[in-house]
Every structure is written in structure tokens, then in C-alpha cells.
Symmetry: C2
Subunit: 277 residues, 2 copies
Amino acid sequence: MQVVETIAEMKRVRKELTGPVGFVATMGFFHEGHLSLVRKARARNPSVAVSIFVNPAQFGPAEDFDTYPRDLPRDLSLLEKERADVVFMPSVAEMYPPGFDSWVDIASVTDRLEGASRPGHFRGVATVVNKLFNIIRPDVSYFGQKDAQQVLVVRKMVQELKMGLEIVALPTVREDDGLAVSSRNAYLNPEERKAATILHRSLCLAEELWEKGEKDAGSIRQQMRELIQKEPLARIDYVSIADPETLEEMDEVRTPALASLAVWTGRTRLIDNVVVE
Amino acid sequence: MQVVETIAEMKRVRKELTGPVGFVATMGFFHEGHLSLVRKARARNPSVAVSIFVNPAQFGPAEDFDTYPRDLPRDLSLLEKERADVVFMPSVAEMYPPGFDSWVDIASVTDRLEGASRPGHFRGVATVVNKLFNIIRPDVSYFGQKDAQQVLVVRKMVQELKMGLEIVALPTVREDDGLAVSSRNAYLNPEERKAATILHRSLCLAEELWEKGEKDAGSIRQQMRELIQKEPLARIDYVSIADPETLEEMDEVRTPALASLAVWTGRTRLIDNVVVE
């Protein structure tokens, strides 16, 4: 496995890779979600590239960029095991040199949900993913469905700017009790860890109501909220039943729909979603 | 010469081109400025692609998108003569499908000069050029120095997003009396055409003052303004002596400097510039 730390070196290494190249963009601190993406890339492509880059541009000033969990030795060892060909770990200084100011913005789908709670977040995501795609020139890139809105933003960018690669979303990986795996789960103490299952439980409630024929999306959102409010360690950021393409909130339910939510559990903000089809 | 009207066809045709590919992005209605770019591309590359696309995203609502001069038969005939290999003429409907909302913005250099007078103009330029580069994947792209700020925006985008091509700026082509050639010169009546030389004359004055050792950029701007104000058909939009990289206005002159201006001549807005080195 080649470990590459500069853009120039990555461009050089890229020329030697046999295509198609499968690519997974990550911020490191790998969990089963990341590994499922790397495994899929490995199974389907002659070459696999993975980036590890904690992207400052997608963190707000009051967010956890500095404390975001990092464990590079473990990450590299896991990527060796999964037989990645290249790991690209650029520096912040090279990705965002002084005066950097070229931003990719997909405003219509980024000012809702996560974008509303985290202004500028998706501009940071779209910009870094655009730049990584330009450097690595993958044929296909794998993303986790857990970050549903991120998948939407990246898909829209690739399609609208004609970037010429395929975006594949893979299912959210969950713990036995339903909690979506996330690097931020590392922040949870044992009590919060228990309470965090409320995200998945409320999504299950939404699916259940759906199957029972509930037609009022507002009522589903309300019942999800009420369930979450019973959990003392949980605090709702948003609960949404929306169109999966436009992210507009639904009044009357129709399929497909994206049920998604963000909930603070102690000082940790967690997200989860399910697509009802 | 292949004439290509869809993105899918262009991507197919691109695969058959022998590299390096030289590319010229235009809005058509060719003059000697465009042709100088095509000739340079032809002289230096095995393959030459030219796009003709009047880009609505770079026109403001009160600007001349609808009346912008077009002469496709003549343009195609000229490109045949210059031995272009491919001309790409996508539709507005395909470049900007309903819901299109992926924008590239280089804010720091786009809110000054042209950007200040034409809000959103460079966002439209950067976005369409980004998309054209993704579709055509040129190795080198040629731009006219007349649109100095556009060159700066495109260079910054390519460098910062690591688009992996070379940007070459070629000198402004001028009429015998110094007027920079421009598609918009077609709007001028004979009197206005005479008055329009005031742009070049004021740039010559700036160079002259510079050579005489004038140190105060404000004084140079002021003398340029006074010269232009003597021309009854001319109305100043801006007159600038700025840093060619940051476009910040200079107080004390230093080289290199970008002397640039926009002047209304009748109902036609013209721009010109010179780099003092």
C-alpha cells in the first residue's frame, strides 16, 4: 500500500494505477461503515484509493475540528488489511493554502436539515470532494448512506458539473442495538451510548406508522419528537420527513421519503436516517 | 471538423482525440481576438476543441444576453479555416437543466472591478468554465488577456481545485487605432466607435505617467478619469490601478500593476486593461 502525502505525488501515483479506480473519501478514525465502503471498492475495482483528511472547511467555528477523533496508525493498519492500493493524506496547508477561495456551493439542497444546523458545512464538503475527485480522478466513489444529505450534495455536484464518475451510496452500518456507527460515537459515555439508540428507535417508529397507513407527515414527525423527548439525555436538533431529492418537508406522506434527524446526546450531535420506499 | 451539440457526444468524441488537447471557450461571434486563441491552440496541440456557448449565467438580468451578437454560420466557417478539430455547442437546456444549482465561486477576486459592476458574473464564468473543462478535459486552455479578471478567476479556480490543466493568456488584439477587439464593438455606431478609443488612450496615458515616474496611483487614476471625461459620449464605470493578483487598489505605484477600466460608450459597456511590468 502506497502512503501519499502530497498532491503532486498523488497525481504521479494515479497515472500508474490500473483503472477503473474506486475511491473512498474519509476523515479517518475508521469504523465498520468506512470499511464497508473500502471492501465494496476493493471487490469491484482493480485499484482502490482512500483519502484520510479531516477537512476543516466542513466544520463550523464552534464545532469539533480540533477534537475530532484521529488514530492514524490504526487506520493505516486497517487499510492494509483491506488491501487498499493507495492512501492519500494531504496536509491542511496544501489543501487550503493561504488565500484559498475557490468554493463549490450547491445552495438549494444545502440550506436545509444539516445545512441549516451547520451553515457552510456542505460548501466545505462539496469543495473538498470536488478537489479530491480532481486529484484522484476516480471512476467510482463510495459514500455511506448515513450521511444522506452529503450523498445528495455530491451526486448533484457530479451530475451538474459533469465530473464524469459514478457515485455509489452504501447502506448505513449499525451496531446490534441499531445505533448507526459513527466516529463521533467515541464521544459517548456509557449512559449516553444507551440513550443514543433513540435515533434509530424513532426512525423505526416512523417506518411503523408509515406501514400502518399514517398519511400525515406532520403527525409522524410529532410522534417521533414525543418518543425522543422521553429520553432525558437526548435533545432534538431536527426531525424531518422530506422529499429525498429536494429535501422539502412533506405534508402528506408519499414514497420515496427521507426520514432523518439530528439529536444531541449529551454534548455529542448524532444523525441518522432511513429512506422509506 | 466535428460539430457536437450534446454533452454525451462530446465525451465520446473526446476519447478519440489525440492529446494534448488545446481548448478555447468562447461565446461565438468571432473576432481576431478569438481567432488568435484558436491559432495558438492549433500551433501547439495535436487536437483543438472550441466551444461556442452564450452563457446565460454570466449575464445579469438587465444585461444583454438576449441581444448578444450571434453569427453561427460565419463562426463555423472561420473555425473550419483555422482547422479546429471539434466545435462544442451545447444547449442552454443541457448546460443548465431545471434545478441546476452547483456553483463555483471565487469570492475574493470576484467582488471587485467587473465583479462589483456585474454581481454574479464571475460565478457564472467560473461555473461554466469548470463544467466545460470537466466535459472536454483539455490539457491547456487559452484565454484573452482583455478579460484580465476572467483570466485571474479561471487560473485561481484551476490551481486551487487542482483541475490539472494549463491556462495560457494571450495578448489583447487591437484595431489600428488601439481599440481592443470585442464582440460588443458591433453595438457601436460610427460616432461611438470613434469615442471608444478613449479606453486605450487613457491606458496609454497611465503607462506614460508611470514611465515619467509618477508614484501616486490615485493621481494616475484621476488623470485617466479627467481624460475620459473630456469625451462626451463616454461615461466611466470604473478606473483601477490594482495589484494583478489580489485586485486590491494601489496607493503608491509598484510593478506589476493592472491598469483596467470599464467605460460606457453610448449604451455599450466596454472594458480594457494593460499590465504595467
